[in-house]
Symmetry: D2
Subunit: 406 residues, 4 copies
Amino acid sequence: MPGIKILNDPIYGFIMVPKGLILDLVDHPWFQRLRRIKQLGLGCYIYPGAVHSRFHHALGVFHLATQAIEILRQKSHPVTREEAEAVTIAALLHDVGHGPFSHVLEHSLVPLEHEKLTLWIMEALNEDLKGRLDLAIEIFKGNYHKSFLCKLVASQLDLDRMDYLNRDSFYSGVVEGTIGYHRLLTMMDVEEGKLVFEEKAGLSIENYLGARRLMYWQVYMHKTSVSAENMLQSLLARCKQLQLNRFASPALEYFIALDRHLDWKSQTEYLLNQFQKIDDTDVEMFLKCCQYADDPMVSFLAKGLIQREFFKVEVLDKAIDEESLLKRKHMCIEQLGWHVDEANDLVQLNKIDFNAYEKGDQEIWIRTKKNEIVPASEILSLQHLSNVESRYYLCYPKATGLGKLS
Amino acid sequence: MPGIKILNDPIYGFIMVPKGLILDLVDHPWFQRLRRIKQLGLGCYIYPGAVHSRFHHALGVFHLATQAIEILRQKSHPVTREEAEAVTIAALLHDVGHGPFSHVLEHSLVPLEHEKLTLWIMEALNEDLKGRLDLAIEIFKGNYHKSFLCKLVASQLDLDRMDYLNRDSFYSGVVEGTIGYHRLLTMMDVEEGKLVFEEKAGLSIENYLGARRLMYWQVYMHKTSVSAENMLQSLLARCKQLQLNRFASPALEYFIALDRHLDWKSQTEYLLNQFQKIDDTDVEMFLKCCQYADDPMVSFLAKGLIQREFFKVEVLDKAIDEESLLKRKHMCIEQLGWHVDEANDLVQLNKIDFNAYEKGDQEIWIRTKKNEIVPASEILSLQHLSNVESRYYLCYPKATGLGKLS
Amino acid sequence: MPGIKILNDPIYGFIMVPKGLILDLVDHPWFQRLRRIKQLGLGCYIYPGAVHSRFHHALGVFHLATQAIEILRQKSHPVTREEAEAVTIAALLHDVGHGPFSHVLEHSLVPLEHEKLTLWIMEALNEDLKGRLDLAIEIFKGNYHKSFLCKLVASQLDLDRMDYLNRDSFYSGVVEGTIGYHRLLTMMDVEEGKLVFEEKAGLSIENYLGARRLMYWQVYMHKTSVSAENMLQSLLARCKQLQLNRFASPALEYFIALDRHLDWKSQTEYLLNQFQKIDDTDVEMFLKCCQYADDPMVSFLAKGLIQREFFKVEVLDKAIDEESLLKRKHMCIEQLGWHVDEANDLVQLNKIDFNAYEKGDQEIWIRTKKNEIVPASEILSLQHLSNVESRYYLCYPKATGLGKLS
Amino acid sequence: MPGIKILNDPIYGFIMVPKGLILDLVDHPWFQRLRRIKQLGLGCYIYPGAVHSRFHHALGVFHLATQAIEILRQKSHPVTREEAEAVTIAALLHDVGHGPFSHVLEHSLVPLEHEKLTLWIMEALNEDLKGRLDLAIEIFKGNYHKSFLCKLVASQLDLDRMDYLNRDSFYSGVVEGTIGYHRLLTMMDVEEGKLVFEEKAGLSIENYLGARRLMYWQVYMHKTSVSAENMLQSLLARCKQLQLNRFASPALEYFIALDRHLDWKSQTEYLLNQFQKIDDTDVEMFLKCCQYADDPMVSFLAKGLIQREFFKVEVLDKAIDEESLLKRKHMCIEQLGWHVDEANDLVQLNKIDFNAYEKGDQEIWIRTKKNEIVPASEILSLQHLSNVESRYYLCYPKATGLGKLS
């Protein structure tokens, strides 16, 4: 098609990328880099089909944004050509600040939140593009006066979540994560400047929130996935501590050396330059080499990760007491021969909280049949989704596994 | 389920892996390594969803083998427990000898065919397992006296092809590649020791062969994919020539240094040991680093690959004459400043042949309604699939692209 | 396949029906009759794809029963050949007593519950078959001592519900009704003689119950569907009252004449004989002819149904008061010219109750990780599904619609 | 959505019908009548899922027309609002002249081609609508000067065929019929006033033609389906001959009485009036009643159809000789006791021809990479699809089956 580049997507059929600014952004190394970042980090160890990239997800959100704009226009809400472009760009770039393995290393290797990095990158691109991303940045930051445009990109029922539920459930094969995204899109509207959904979409919204909760516990926080992530985080923490970087790529070396208490402001540009260079590849390559590291803890963890010998995990409804935890650590010391400090790092109790729906300021808005605009929690059955659920993941090395590895 | 490990597959639902020998093989580092080898090599540059691994494909073939055995047994063909296990193992391991990016580097980086490596690996595993893979190896080699079991694993209508068509079409979104694998499986039978298909499956077989042809030209030999593969092969050839390995992992270093004229026999073990260590990661990491190599050709090719600035490709029905080819090379010399020899490597004319169906010894066998066993080509409409189709791919650097890169 | 008849199913691929008793039942006129009964009655007026038959659904439940038996056997629960056959027959025949338009006319045209009719038909078949259905009948009645086999056929998480959710969501296109039936099947087990599900299936069970609730309100009790059903029931009630049967087929004539206070026992055989003859066709044909009936109410309702001019519906959270209802009736009298009694029948307030999950005796049983058997409500998040939800549907003729029709 | 009515479609997600003229046509009794005509006639006896209606198919073609127009406009081909409406109306109504069981009774019960009836109905509607369908009729007749608009509605690669392949393969579960309709739509263009496809779509076009051929033989002309159709045609011919209409609805009675040599012109209006009243229901109801008819041939055929005891069919590559045919007839006379004339009607040899692709005037046009417009047969691999394939279906009553029935 003239003026359009077509990309295949097994979920939506075809994604149409207009030539010009948007295709230039897709072709930009910053965006192409997302090809090398898996959407679900280590999740493919549990769901072998879930190897899809953040690149494809970002294109998916872009695609949904194009559709949403079209629907809102059909409902007579004026969206200018500039606004439409800005929303789709914000959708496209919303995850561009993700580091290797997406969320896994967000607070360890790269000690910054990905949203902050996304913003810095958008600003850097904007400078090159002489301000053509001004509006997209406003929308990404949630500052644009037409708040409904911002909510498409970030809210409790945004296009990001719609795409990732569609995509993660498709690639993992967890069909229970299926949502009626088509229906949700069609039921979108704008009222008093707010993004609202027609009451007729009520059951679909409940289903969407339920699907997200299911995916959260079944896929994103699958116990084996959490175990693998813990191991990876421990390994990188240890490397930072020992300044062990013999096998690291130059960019990864930079991040291992990076001081958490750095004054970011002063060296944003250099940091971004390095950040652009790392992706899953650097970490995977490093892991593979670390199997042969001298430090026994590092090689122990690396072997476990590469050969899929993950720590054992118990999922608990409540925290275990200090004493039980200590007992585990002692077992670890005795059976596996680690030191006290090391056992401390290897035996971990993670508390994981999840709130499928947050009441308060950021509610999803519903237009009732009587044309009133009310928060979703008022008329939908969301009570069971509005409480924080907490689970405790106790991870520790398997004695048997160890035997094999050493 | 007791005695069974369940794996999610978006295509077949669940794959059931019996604990014991088979799960041990799945968990073995040799097999886990396939997680890091993309089924379609560089194909995901064209079809962004096609990032699925050879690991998942191998499990898929294993799954189909389990189903095929069950169907043959229901049709009263005795398959012993040992034979069943051996067939499913041969199915599982049939691709274990694939190197980085599957077929792409088969004849450049690792100068051996993947089938040979698969066999060596199976033999190495068999030694560890004290002969428990003897029968699987017989079947893989096609030597077992019950030839129909061998044909399930390797023939013109085998489980390998069924799974890869299912899987590649699913992940790429090229729905035209859909085949009726369920129907094909159900129509399998054994007659005079041969694997045969009932005549009722005739249209499904024609459709299967047509789908394979379509996937061949549309996906596997997509012109952009061929261009990327040429670039990657050229880059590695150059590195071998210059012995440029500064950024390579130790295992990759070994293969760059490897002499094509080596006496394999003498060092199979060492070679396998190194081979086990390389996968897509090593090559991707190397590529990323090569962007900053001193050699201008290497950095030129690496940048093109990482930033998705591939060479231009023209697909032709017949070879172009020497003169035209020379003209292109000269353009390359003049516009881009390469030397004569270099231009020689960068401007390539590849002839690609494809035969969707081969008549002769290896025909698909059909049991007609009159209970005669005849080769498929005799009663199906296969004439148009039985001729070799040839296409010529002319690849050369884009002047404009270059400008951007340098 | 020898000994097996294969039927295509877009949901499960192939359904394998063993020749012999089971295929004979499938081929029996009693069962073939289900081809002419739409699974969702008038639901296809709202979801045009949902024209699938109860015949296909019954085959689907049969298929799932075959799979469930296989899974239980793999988990070392002995199921004899006879039991397996009986369970799959009970699954196959569980709906054989459904009358025209499934549930719609269950309490008006045929004044008996379909379960009772199913039982009578199974008993009649059993007599012909000289007792070969004895065990299937025991299981259908829930009396067989291995209660887990009975629960496969009828319980809060039975194969019937799994298939109808799969099927109704597939054909209607309401993707939110998708359930993880494959996972549910795999997580089935037997403990202390009870059918139990592993705790790992918890999220899938919650999702299944949520999907059923969604389908209930969105599809089965869609307001337009309820409106159409009301109209059909009113029409048939009127015909019964007036003994209007001029256009009815002989079998339909019998049911129109049927006295509600009949002594069933004495004429079961004759009733069954007539029942076997009616299906959707009789009622549809009758409806079409009733458009030209002399009675204005009958023709009014028939035209509305055939030409898709349904009554208006308002869905309310609570009952409206008598006065408002009376007002509607008066409007109906004034604007449309009906008599008081007629308006009484045309303006209806239906209360519809739904309980997505019933606590108490009939709970779904869960085996916890600690190997305890507990009711699902104790450890899953089911509170919001355990209360009866009530909605009120107020249906009344549209003034405008009428104008067109008369 | 304001101004739009949304219909669920499991294939395309949602179909958007604009209120106004188009929704009025959808709501019109002429169009609603298509709900009661199964797309595949008796095909659901073989593929139990294939019970979808011509109503849904017509909406599907309408949907594709909307998409095609949008794509052509994006490619800068001006399509006026009036033209767009007319094309989508022509797509919507293209099958409105289909009688009961679609093609089955086209030349027996209603002795007119459905295209002719479609035209008459469109003209009748146009009169009511005071000429608002003028343009749609021009397009339907293929007379409109922008021929590419006509070709969307009727050609060798039109939207009708795309939808029915999509839909019939979806509902029957014959996945081999899957086509890349999304790709085909996207590759459409207009050149020199012609509807053309880009050469890049070549493989998809070959696949589409192959899929149509497969569906033709596997589904549309499935031997059991042909057998059932023969029986139905014989039954109705016999009823016409005997003027047996005791159980027929008034409209069906009219068609049974209809004289083939009637002067249509003089009573088009009355004929259409009756035609509007018959659909599958009339014929099914009639069939059910005919089981109890006095004429033994009629009851024999009716019982066979209702109880799914179809005639035996042999599919042959060439015609059998007169003598063999006669022998069959004699067997029929002897074993089943039919008279000579009757046996003549019951034993039938049908020759069925199919041409998957027609060369000549009506070719699909391709725009080559060099921007030349050539017929598809010139550059695609269509030779094997361009010859007429003939099969002979020999149908005759089963002796055994008969035993059961009488």
